[in-house]
């Protein structure tokens, strides 16, 4: 195993530092000159391919801006992207490669929680800080004090969605269809269920599928017979599109509701008309009028010729967030950098202001609820804990669904 060889190497490297010898030229970012290498752990292919592709584009846009402004500590940054193929086992291999072969200073990634959970302990063991742009399962950062994230977590997301459907849309009968292979989906489904039942709602059916399946008709037939008013499907976009099509085929007309795993430029391509009227929670809305979002969208469109989705925005933020911490840190050794990242407060990102709490999760991040309407995403509600009472759903459109924001 490579790990066996890395640990002594790390110990050796840190003891050299401890005993005051000059740092070696390579390894762990100890060098004071030359490029800083950052690893990006991303699902570039497979069932969640757009997550990795989008974050990568966001990261590279941020990288361009950082390097154009002189880099970090006068050194240029280089990104090495390692593909996890949307698979847990590949995530573990990929992170080991980044650490042992490429000697990265820090790691950005993954999006899917299951993959971050597989990669996290390896980064932790090697004392390489890892910043996840979009893994929302609470367990991800519990893996160790080197693991950070810059997005909200699922208890918050599940609660916000449950409150939105129960209080604002006045729906009381929900069915759940969850992905047993995904920690994200299982967790989010539970958090939604808790709040929804506390608010007086009933879960009429709780079915499951395995990520990668293509046939969801049997589960949907059971759900249909229970006559729910909405179906909560906290999965990833590939399956969501297919589930929507098959639900409509079976004559199910109620909306599907989900979390940020729906976010993908492919979602509407796969689901098409079947997704009309469905909605999900997200990290940002591309038509948000705030200047930070506006500027980011403009430069992203200029570089890639397409609008950035939330994963791209999170990727962009994660790179800027990490660069800011690296700039502040006395040196780029794992422990020093880790301490500096943990101190981050009031970092102004595209997806909101990031202040890390003691559990290495950001406090008070904004959440938006988006509806799919005529093939576009329309803002339905914003939850901004920083602006008012925690978790208050500020309605930006009446529950009947008439839009107040303009679709692009």
């Amino acid at each position: 195993m490579k790990i066996d060889r890395i640990i002594p190497a790390v110990i050796a490297a840190s003891s050299i530092l401890l005993f005051g010898c000059p740092p070696k030229e390579s390894g762990g970012g100890g060098a004071a000159s030359g490029e800083i290498v950052i690893g990006h752990l991303a699902s570039m292919t497979g069932g969640q391919a757009t997550f990795g592709q989008q974050t990568d584009q966001g990261i590279r846009l941020a990288l361009e801006e950082i390097n154009a402004a002189g880099g970090v500590k006068g050194r240029m940054i280089r990104i090495i992207t390692e593909d996890t193929q949307s698979k847990q086992e590949e995530a573990a291999t990929a992170v080991s490669k980044l650490i042992s072969r490429d000697n990265v200073t820090a790691i950005l990634g993954e999006i899917a929680s299951s993959n971050s959970l597989a990669a996290g302990p390896i980064a932790q063991q090697n004392k390489i800080p890892m910043v996840s742009p979009g893994s929302t399962n609470p367990a991800v950062t519990e893996k160790g004090d080197y693991i950070f994230r810059i997005c909200f977590i699922d208890p918050y997301q599940g609660e916000a969605l449950a409150k939105y459907v129960a209080n604002d849309m006045k729906l009381t009968r929900a069915a759940i269809l969850r992905d047993v292979k995904s920690d994200y989906s299982m967790g989010l489904a539970d958090f939604f269920k808790n709040t929804f039942t506390q608010l007086g709602g009933t879960i009429v059916a709780d079915s499951s599928y395995a990520g990668g399946d293509s046939d969801f008709k049997s589960q949907l037939t059971t759900i249909k017979s229970q006559k729910p008013e909405l179906i909560f499907v906290p999965g990833y976009y590939t399956e969501i599109g297919q589930i929507a099509v098959q639900a409509r085929d079976l004559g199910i007309t109620v909306p599907l509701v989900g979390g940020d795993g729906w976010e993908s430029p492919k979602l509407i391509e796969i689901g098409g008309k079947a997704l009309e009227g469905c909605f999900y929670s997200n990290h940002y809305h591309v038509d948000d009028p705030s200047p930070a979002v506006h500027q980011f969208v403009a430069s992203y469109e200029k570089k890639y010729g397409a609008k950035p989705d939330a994963m791209a925005a999170l990727g962009y933020d994660s790179m800027k967030f990490l660069a800011a911490a690296m700039e502040r840190a006395a040196n780029l050794e794992g422990p020093t950098l880790r301490d500096e990242i943990a101190k981050t407060a009031d970092f102004q990102g595209v997806t909101g202001t990031i202040t890390l709490g003691p559990d290495r999760n950001p406090l008070n991040k904004k959440l938006v609820v988006l509806e799919i309407k005529d093939g576009n995403l329309v803002l339905r509600a914003t939850v901004d804990p920083a602006a008012g009472a925690a978790l208050a759903v500020t309605e930006s459109a009446p529950a009947t669904g008439t839009e107040t924001t303009t679709a692009k």
């Binding site: 292919t45 497979g46 069932g47 391919a49 193929q85 047993v180 079915s207 499951s208 599928y209 395995a210 399946d213 293509s214 046939d215 008709k217 049997s218 589960q219 037939t221 059971t222 249909k224 017979s225 590939t238 599109g241 297919q242 099509v245 085929d249 079976l250 004559g251 391509e269 796969i270």
Partner: protein
């Protein structure tokens, strides 16, 4: 009751696709006693040929690769995919299996596994590892039927599957070639002594099996839209179980086996066991091997020493 009927219909839909793939397994096994593991990947190639065929024909017919649903297009795509897979099936047999005709059977089996990996990982290189989404080749209509909801696509899947199974039944039991096939299956050496061109019969069997897999691939794309280079693995295994369930080597058995697996799976998915849906087919396999190793329609044969 509505759910019961709906589950039954859902099961028949996927079951008929399993049946189309199972036919290829069973025919090759019947004639060569070879389990052609690469067969499920021919099914995958069939689906991809449908995907690319739709774009090519759209470009030729309407000058744009945005697919306009229509019957002409659907039939052209189906024919294109069937033709490509027919050629592929022939090449498989000619290049990979024929040189091993007189080698121990285990050699062919391992070749089949190797070929299967070649298609799966070669497919990832050629088609790309990302899932692709089959275009809508036909306008979809909703049909209400005794409180259940059926799409016109399901009806088309059933009709096309039945037509091709009918053609196969006619070829095997109603033509001179079919008689030759059955003779080769019965006893390879005697058949060759009787002047039957056994090599040609085997080639054509592979071609027919591959064509049926291509039909299955296009119908699968039409019903479920997501296709990827590794899609053949699970579907192929289930179709293989279907062939064993029906009695491997038995043509009507493969059809019944496919439908049974599809329906059982559909009911399992609708019950509290939905998480174990994929395991059901393999539980069935274990039960058959324990209690009726020759399958539903298979004849029990005493092992000759």
């Amino acid at each position: 009751m509505d759910s019961f009927l709906q589950n039954l219909i859902n099961g028949i839909g996927i079951g008929s696709i399993y049946a189309l793939i199972a036919l290829g397994y069973t025919m090759v096994y019947g004639i060569l006693k070879l389990i052609n593991f690469a067969h499920s990947d021919v099914f995958m190639v069939g689906a991809f040929m449908g995907y690319y065929g739709a774009r090519i024909f759209s470009k030729l017919m309407y000058g744009s690769s945005v697919v306009e649903p229509g019957w002409t297009l659907f039939l052209l795509v189906l024919a294109f995919s069937v033709a490509c897979c027919g050629v592929l099936g022939y090449l498989n047999e000619r290049i990979a299996y024929r040189p091993l005709r007189n080698a121990p059977r285990i050699a062919s089996l391992i070749t089949a596994i190797g070929l299967s990996f070649l298609f799966e990982y070669g497919g990832q290189m050629v088609f790309g590892p990302d899932p692709k989404f089959f275009p809508q080749l036909l306008e979809k209509k909703q049909i209400e039927f005794f409180g259940t909801s059926i799409t016109s696509h399901l009806v088309i899947v059933l009709v096309v599957a039945l037509v091709f199974m009918g053609i196969l039944q006619y070829i095997v039991y109603g033509t001179k070639f079919g008689r030759a096939m059955r003779a080769v299956s019965h006893n390879y050496e005697t058949a060759s002594l009787m002047g039957i061109p056994t090599d040609r019969v085997i080639s054509i069997t592979f071609v027919i099996g591959s064509m049926l897999a291509a039909v299955g691939g296009v119908l699968y794309g039409l019903s479920y839209s997501k296709i990827d280079p590794l899609m053949g693995i699970m579907l192929g295994l289930k179709a293989f179980v279907a062939a064993v369930l029906g009695g491997i080597g038995n043509v009507p058995g493969a059809v019944i086996g496919g439908l049974v697996i599809g329906i059982v799976e559909s009911f399992a998915g609708a019950s509290a066991l939905s998480t174990y849906k994929d395991a059901i087919a393999f539980v069935i396999l274990i039960l058959i091997l324990l209690f009726r190793p020759s399958g539903i329609f298979g004849k029990h044969q005493a092992e000759k020493v």
